[in-house]
Symmetry: C2
Subunit: 200 residues, 2 copies
């Protein structure tokens, strides 16, 4: 099996959510695994001067329409959460806490967090809500809470966010295949062909 596909995403990103529901199967089709790497778009925006989509005049209104239509196009349930966009620091730290112990469980937590936010309207900017989502996967609330607050986990999170930005992640999802970067859930078709052909 060749190198894993690197999947960088922000928990507040609708297109990241769409990609999260597709990327594992797409990679598996080409005998690849996926390394899930949440990062924080707010930090990336400082490097680029960009702003959250929905804050941009005209484009913001279009984007909300496009989130919803693109989710339906991909056959996925979706709603714009009441609190949107958010800073997902607690969710990201919970992920890296768990990733240090069990990467598969961390991937499952990421998927559960995305679904909680974009399907069930759970505000995952709240640490309590992140802990509740994790609890449904069998994780102990006290363990998750301690993990989110752990100094080493905070440091790992900062390092991963910096690493994603150093890789060029300016938006979400940002997917790297054998060194080739792809931005957006609308590049999954290009990724499919890249994995099949090794580039073109």
């Amino acid at each position: 099996m060749s190198a894993p596909v690197e999947f960088y995403f922000d928990f507040s990103s609708p297109y990241g959510y769409i990609a999260s529901e597709k990327i594992d199967a797409l990679a598996a089709k080409h005998n690849r695994s996926v390394t899930w790497r949440p990062f924080l778009l707010g930090v990336a925006f400082k490097a680029t001067g960009m702003a959250p989509l929905v804050q941009i005049p005209v484009k913001g209104d279009y984007s909300v329409r496009d989130f919803q239509r693109s989710a339906r196009f991909n056959g996925l349930p979706f709603r714009v959460p009441d609190n949107f966009p958010i800073g997902a620091v607690s969710a990201t730290r919970a992920f890296y806490w768990l990733d240090g112990k069990d990467p598969v469980a961390a991937r499952n937590l990421a998927q559960a967090l995305y679904r909680a936010y974009f399907v069930d309207n759970v505000d995952i900017s709240s640490a309590d809500n992140v802990i509740n989502v994790a609890a449904k996967l069998g994780l102990k609330a006290d363990d998750v809470r301690a993990g989110i607050g752990d100094a080493a986990v905070k440091e790992r999170t900062k390092s991963e966010v910096d690493g994603a930005i150093a890789k060029g992640a300016f938006g979400s999802p940002y997917i790297v295949v054998d060194g080739e970067p792809f931005w957006g859930s609308d590049r999954l078709d290009q990724i499919d062909r890249w994995l099949a052909t090794g580039g073109w």
Copy 2:
């Protein structure tokens, strides 16, 4: 035949070029025609505070790579022109001058201008170069030059640009199907399904 597909584009837009090579066949597949409507992104950017892609840190570098890869993905010849991006006022006026007399010829001129710029590296920000491209289609240089400078053509151009922005065109291509807006050459797959199903 139902209402035409509205195709808004800027002559300086690589993704507009990609869409221009696909949109007529896509619409024809669903028994639709296409109304070609060049506009000026620079004017739209004033409404949104946006900037040309290549001027955005990090995202700009990615975008150049994505232009090239997306063109190859679509089987199209492409190069980043030496002078890029440009203000395409002369090209846009030449289009509307001709559109007032012969919309099919204007569509063919638009395609020739796009190919001149993104395949043959002809700087179509120059009125002389626009006139040369038009001359290859059999248009008389003096007529094109007079058209570009004509007060009524300038007024028509301004009105069309304002009209595109009023329709919500914040980027290029911006394609409207029965009132539903789609932004980007990467939405052609959604447009295909929209035309087939009337929405979803």
